[in-house]
C-alpha cells in the first residue's frame, strides 16, 4: 500500500473503523514508513485528546431553574386544558339538519295554531283596534240566475259596495218600469258588450259606452233587491 492511500485511511485506522484486512495493511505500512508513522501519531493524539476534552461547566442551579420553567409549563397546560378547547370545534353542516327540521315543524304548527286566533281577534275588537263593519254577507248575483252568486270585490270599502248596490237598485227599478226595454231583453235583441263577455243568463244594458250589469242584491236583513245592505 502506498503512502497516499495509507494517509487517506489513517484517521479511520485510529478510530478502528477499518475492516481487519485494511487495518492490517495500513499498520504494516505505518511500521515501515517514518513519515506515515508520524502522521498516525498525530491522528492518534487528536483521538485521544478529543476524549479528554474537559466537560463544559454547568451552573449549580441548572436543575432548579429548569424545574421552575417546567412548573410554569405545567401551570400553562392546566389553564389551557381547563379553560380553552385544544382545537376549535369544526362546524358541520349536517348538524343543522335536525335543527332545520324541528324549526320547520314548529313553524307549520305555529301557523296552524295561531291563524284562527288571529281571525278571532279581528272579529272581536278591542279598545285599541279600529272597528270594521262585517260586510262579508254582501253579495250580488245575476237576477236571471239566482244560483250563481257573484261576490263583490274584496278590496271595495263598504261605502263603495253600498253605492254600487244603490246604483244597481236604481237601474233595476228603471228597467222594470220600461216595459219595452224588458221586452227587448227577454227577446234577446240587446247588443252585447264588445269588451266584456257576460256570463250565461246575465242581463246588461249599454248606454253611452257604459256597461251596466243587472244584479239582484241579497242582504241578510231584507233578502230582496233593495240597495240597503242591512
Amino acid at each position: 500500500m502506498r503512502c497516499r492511500k495509507v494517509r487517506s485511511l489513517l484517521s479511520a485506522a485510529c478510530s478502528e473503523e477499518l475492516d481487519v484486512r485494511q487495518y492490517a495493511e495500513v499498520m504494516e505500512h505505518v511500521a515501515s514508513c517514518p513519515s506515515c508513522k508520524r502522521e498516525y501519531a498525530i491522528y492518534a493524539s487528536i483521538q485521544e485528546g478529543a476524549r479528554e476534552i474537559p466537560d463544559e461547566p454547568i451552573s449549580d442551579d441548572f436543575n432548579t431553574r429548569l424545574l421552575g420553567r417546567i412548573a410554569e409549563e405545567r401551570f400553562a397546560e392546566t389553564r389551557t386544558k381547563a379553560y380553552l378547547p385544544k382545537r376549535a370545534p369544526k362546524f358541520q353542516w349536517r348538524s343543522l339538519v335536525p335543527v332545520t327540521v324541528v324549526a320547520g315543524l314548529l313553524a307549520v304548527v305555529t301557523l296552524n295554531v295561531y291563524q284562527p286566533s288571529q281571525e278571532m281577534s279581528s272579529t272581536t275588537p278591542t279598545a285599541n283596534t279600529p272597528i270594521h263593519m262585517d260586510d262579508r254577507y254582501l253579495t250580488t248575483q245575476p237576477s236571471s240566475n239566482p244560483n250563481v252568486t257573484v261576490a263583490m270585490e274584496d278590496s271595495w270599502t263598504l261605502n263603495q259596495k253600498l253605492a254600487r248596490t244603490e246604483r244597481l237598485g236604481q237601474i233595476s227599478q228603471r228597467l222594470t218600469s220600461n216595459r219595452a226595454f224588458v221586452n227587448q231583453l227577454t227577446s234577446g235583441t240587446m247588443v252585447r258588450s264588445q269588451t266584456t263577455r257576460p256570463n250565461p243568463g246575465q242581463f246588461f244594458q249599454t248606454s253611452g259606452g257604459v256597461t251596466y250589469y243587472i244584479y239582484r242584491v241579497n242582504t241578510p236583513t231584507s233578502g230582496g233587491e233593495s240597495g240597503q245592505a242591512y
Binding site: S45, E48, E52, E56
Partner: protein
C-alpha cells in the same frame, strides 16, 4: 435478570414522564444535561448561551413528551432538538456578521501565535474545534467527542451515513492541519505517544 440497557432506561423514564412523573424528568435531566452541554457548549463557544439552549431543549422535551415515538431512540431525539436550537442560535448570531467575522479571525490568529495558549493537547484541541465550520464541528463532536455510532450521528444530523463519515474525516484533517504546527512547536506530540505508536509494531 439482566440490567436494562441505556436505551431501555430512557424508555422507562420517558414512560414515567408521560405519566407526569417529575422525579423521572429530573433523572432524565441528570442523564443528558452534561452530554448536551458538551456538544452545544462547543457548538456555541459560550457556556451561558449553551445552558439556555440546553434548558430550552428540556422544556421542548417536556412540552412534546406525548408525541415521542418509542420506535426511535430517545438520545437521537433529544440531540436533534438540542442541535436544532443551537443552529438557530448560531443563525441569530450570523445576523451580526461583523462581530462574528472579527471573532473568528481573532480565534484563528490566537491559535497560531499566542504563546499563552494551553500546552495540553485537549485544550488545544478544544480551541481548534471551535474554529471548524459548523457542519464539520457538529459531526466531529458527536462522533469523536461523544463517541456515538455513525448511524446515530446520521440520524441526528439527518444526513446520509456516507456524508457523516466524509464530514468526520474532513474535520479530522482540518484539525490535523491546525494542530500539527502547534504540536510540533510546543512538542505537544509527546514522546510517549510516539513510543506507544512504535510499541504497536
Amino acid at each position: 435478570m439482566s440490567k436494562p440497557s441505556e436505551k431501555e432506561k430512557d424508555y422507562i423514564l420517558m414512560r414515567a414522564i408521560q405519566n407526569g412523573d417529575m422525579v423521572a424528568f429530573d433523572s432524565m435531566v441528570n442523564r443528558y444535561r452534561g452530554r448536551l452541554m458538551n456538544v452545544i457548549g462547543r457548538m456555541l463557544s459560550s457556556t451561558e448561551e449553551a445552558e439556555d439552549v440546553v434548558q430550552e431543549t428540556f422544556v421542548r422535551v417536556y412540552q412534546h413528551r406525548q408525541s415521542f415515538n418509542f420506535q426511535h431512540c430517545f438520545s437521537t431525539w433529544i440531540y436533534t432538538i438540542g442541535l436544532n436550537l443551537a443552529r438557530n442560535e448560531l443563525r441569530k448570531r450570523r445576523r451580526f456578521k461583523f462581530f462574528e467575522i472579527s471573532e473568528m479571525k481573532g480565534s484563528e490568529k490566537e491559535l497560531a501565535v499566542d504563546p499563552k495558549l494551553p500546552s495540553r493537547l485537549p485544550e488545544l484541541l478544544e480551541g481548534a474545534v471551535a474554529t471548524l465550520p459548523e457542519k464539520y464541528r457538529e459531526a466531529f463532536l458527536l462522533r469523536d467527542v461523544e463517541e456515538m455510532a455513525y448511524d446515530e450521528v446520521a440520524k441526528i444530523l439527518d444526513v446520509p451515513l456516507g456524508t457523516v463519515k466524509s464530514r468526520v474525516n474532513r474535520a479530522r484533517l482540518m484539525l490535523r492541519e491546525k494542530l500539527k504546527p502547534r504540536m510540533e512547536e510546543q512538542n505537544a506530540l509527546s514522546k510517549s505517544t510516539l513510543l506507544a505508536v512504535s510499541g504497536l509494531f
